[in-house]
Symmetry: C2
Subunit: 202 residues, 2 copies
């Protein structure tokens, strides 16, 4: 870690980036303030200016990860719903591919039964999924068999679980699918699902 | 719990069923031998004849749950791949609906990062997914855009994540979908996904 003069906010962000890197090499349980201090080359005492305790540090790292995923997958403003979604998914696959072990730790934490960890995950997932409805108008959505209603959100949520599982499994074993084919599949799966039952406009 | 004379095997099975019921009211962490003893109305000492410790008991309860899911979702032998899948999914939705809190605890345990818990979950999932390939011949599968190869297994795995997520979310909030519509959707989603990319027969 460089020793340039950073503002406290910048320094904290840098420590969180380091936290994400360290998370790739160990589970959240083994990510202590000691480990962070050692790798950041600064004292434990100084770290407690940034994080009140291990738990606070963990929550901040998970939030950082979740914000990164949301930021990096921001879709382009132009194009069709499908090209926008493809662009988002490409960024998602890129991010998860680059930060695979850390992202796996993030998912494990989110699903461990810890309510706060789960909430951080849910917030980012909701942000990602709401975006699908926000960046398309009603006519574009209808062409995908999607309506901005509870049912539409349920379908998109199911699809997002498919995306997450398929991407993690594909990174482990591509099973003969190129990245291009994977992205095409994930994108096409949404209308594949939503159009599978006759949509009921309301 | 009735006091009829049971064989040790039957008694153990009965204790595991009770374990599943108790799991619905608390997480795995709070499911102790003490709690089991109290609800079974038998002594801790006797319980240690069946389970060597809390961990052994937990593993056995999770295995029981996983075997139940596999057994209860066994598809009928007749019919088309789609009617067989619909029947399996109906049984799955019924089981998860009846045992919702216990199943949620099961999923949380499976995803907590505990390797043995995860393996129990993976074994049942693999058994469920392999069945899709086993109960259909190559021609039936091809009509669904499915081939019994690594790619086909990857697609089915992604679909199974969609099923799990959608069913749990639907139980929490049906979002205007009837059970019938849910089952139609889950069944139709598989060919919806597999046919989304042009299948490459090999």
């Amino acid at each position: 870690m460089t020793r340039t003069r950073l503002s406290p906010v910048e320094r904290r962000a840098q420590l969180l980036d380091l936290g994400m890197v360290l998370l790739a090499e160990r589970g959240l349980d083994d990510l202590s303030i000691d480990v962070l201090a050692e790798h950041a080359g600064i004292s434990r005492g100084l770290l407690y200016h940034y994080f009140s305790d291990k738990r606070d540090f963990h929550l901040a790292v998970l939030r950082r990860m979740s914000e990164e995923v949301v930021a990096i997958t921001a879709p382009p403003t132009g194009g069709t719903p499908m090209t926008r979604m493809m662009a988002s998914l490409e960024a998602y696959v890129g991010f998860v591919g680059t930060n695979r072990a850390a992202y796996a730790s993030f998912l494990r934490a989110a699903r461990s039964g810890d309510a706060e960890f789960h909430q951080i995950y849910e917030e980012s997932r909701t942000a990602l999924l709401d975006r699908i409805f926000e960046v398309s108008d009603a006519e574009e959505l209808a062409a995908l068999g999607l309506y901005d209603d509870p049912r539409g959100h349920l379908l998109v949520r199911g699809w997002s679980a498919l995306v997450e599982e398929t991407v993690m499994a594909w990174l482990e074993d591509p099973a003969g699918l190129s990245r291009e084919e994977l992205l095409t599949l994930l994108t096409a799966a949404l209308p594949g699902i939503t159009l599978a039952v006759q949509p009921t406009p309301r």
